[in-house]
Point group: C2
Amino acid sequence: MDQPVALSDQPHQHVTFADGMALECGARLARLTVAYRTYGTLNAARSNAVLVCHALTGDQYVAETHPITGKPGWWDQVVGPGRPVDTDRFFVICANVLGGCMGSTGPRSPRDGSAGETSTPSAPTPSPPWGTDFPPVTIRDMVRAQHRLVTHLGIARLFAVIGGSMGGMQVLQWAADYPDMVFAALPIASAAYHSAQNIAFNEVGRQAIFADPDWQGGRYWVSGRVPARGLAVARMCAHITYLSEQALTRKFGRRLQTAPKDSQEAISLFGDMFEVESYLHHQGSTFVSRFDANSYLTITRAMDYFDLAADHGGDLASAFRGTRTRFLLVSFTSDWLFPTAESRSVARALNRAGANVSFVEIASDKGHDAFLLDEPDFHRTLAGFLSGCAAHAKL
Amino acid sequence: MDQPVALSDQPHQHVTFADGMALECGARLARLTVAYRTYGTLNAARSNAVLVCHALTGDQYVAETHPITGKPGWWDQVVGPGRPVDTDRFFVICANVLGGCMGSTGPRSPRDGSAGETSTPSAPTPSPPWGTDFPPVTIRDMVRAQHRLVTHLGIARLFAVIGGSMGGMQVLQWAADYPDMVFAALPIASAAYHSAQNIAFNEVGRQAIFADPDWQGGRYWVSGRVPARGLAVARMCAHITYLSEQALTRKFGRRLQTAPKDSQEAISLFGDMFEVESYLHHQGSTFVSRFDANSYLTITRAMDYFDLAADHGGDLASAFRGTRTRFLLVSFTSDWLFPTAESRSVARALNRAGANVSFVEIASDKGHDAFLLDEPDFHRTLAGFLSGCAAHAKL
């Protein structure tokens, strides 16, 4: 990809289900489009498929250059030839989540259910988009949309489902809802519910978007001005929660971006001063070119709703009773967004359910983001677990 | 106070220094006004004065009904008759910080240095306010303004200087800059520098204010529309950092504000859903009635600049070498904004400097806010330390 393209002009590989899909909230999507990417080759027995579930701001471009940003795939250290999720061995599928903005049905989709997913760049949108009238979706709805895709691809059982953060929520939901379709489940840096603190941070992000006059009640396609500043503030706030204090200190400390302050510089109160500020500005401003504000609202809300135990009478073990799925839970010591304690409580519930479960806490000072970064211990853990499972599955 | 009044109409007890004050940045304020409150009686020897330093969004109304909100003083559990800082025994002084918005010189003050501090309600402002042209101030500048006030009150030595959070930064600065004027110093839930993570959270708040079109480059007095939404988002984000995850979970968990969700409610995506969201909205909206956005920018920046060791050749112990001040450092186990480790490193520097230092970590799950809340162990610790010091000081 020589030239990054705009969010709205980007075509995506996809499948459309003309019969639509009912949502947990009671609404029904007249049509359902799932945009996805695959890597590697499905074997003759159709038994080597691995579904990767992406996080809040991720997408289906796991292991290839991103069509909008031109950057490497978000998990190209984990997924690819010779990587822990080895595409020489496995057939990897990743779908943009329901409610997303990279081709799957979401707030940017035409509200009349027409084929709004553009197949050619700059094709006119045939009907106004849903915007904030897009029905609230849940993690279970996202998983049901992925289930449609997997079935469409002719796959009766996934060898593994893997994902970090919100992706890990989807993994848990897959294992709970389709136990016979999931040989191995790997929820990484995740939890079985969203905590009050996490809901609070999401709400700050949403309020920042609502406060941007360019949000225009969510109908920003009319004016063509997107709520870039609000979305950037949301991203900046969230980004802090992805890192650890140690990581921020190691990367930036209290270093100034410019020459040591003198009285002249100190007087320019609102310029970039600390490196960490400049870094946050960059995170905010690059994000808005690849993400849709209404999708951010929809997906953060889906995370907030997630509470797998509550959906099973308050007992998380009931969600997994009798499961034959093999689980690997991974957490990172410095992750304060999805702390180890939350993975441990999932492990305990799986133990109560009599499940086959491994739980590894990786020592890292990189915070929640560690699951996306170069963490050799983590990658060895994944590779080892998947190899063991592959032997059991006679792959 | 029967009727809360607006920020701009509120007169405050104050003193004005017509000779102004030079600031660390090199700028000079032509006049300096310090608004303050006192409680209790100064003894004949003028030896029983306690200076209380307030935090980012605090003010001088420590132990009495707040004139704008009508709520109790922010530290009325700590300061008052029979309280740990006993106003039957001590003469307590608290000044609004330089850069603040409750009567001390700050961004709302007239830029020409005229007597803009209103002495009667609704008096016209004689010259346009400084706004964002107000020079950047530092914690040391705040302390120098307090020093002017203390001297003006005829006090040669303070029995104690006490404050939490940014107030604790001022306490450390007092002890470093005026060691012979401080018999006892009590920095609570504080640190000798602002961390990268804390700078990052402050920057998110500032960006939220900048993103509000009603901020108008800081000249919002022209239109009369204040950047209420941006300031509210800043407050919401900061407020999460004042609490612990445990406190948020205990107070709100995942409880919904309204009846259990059904499909109709779920469809109203953007209403109040979780109690924690409603609480944050309340925190944000009440804050804007009592605080000025430009002051928020100025004061957060002062916190970010604070690095006492850097001002002393990188060695915090040098800031206190030879001091005879008695120190009590207090931290709270669940405070992640100013964690125990930061108080401990101050204690170590004081030990290296040969200072007389006590350090108490209070077990609390209330987060940074614990210093403002009902924490009997904390209050007993303060009372005991102050009694011991009073005996040494022959009070």
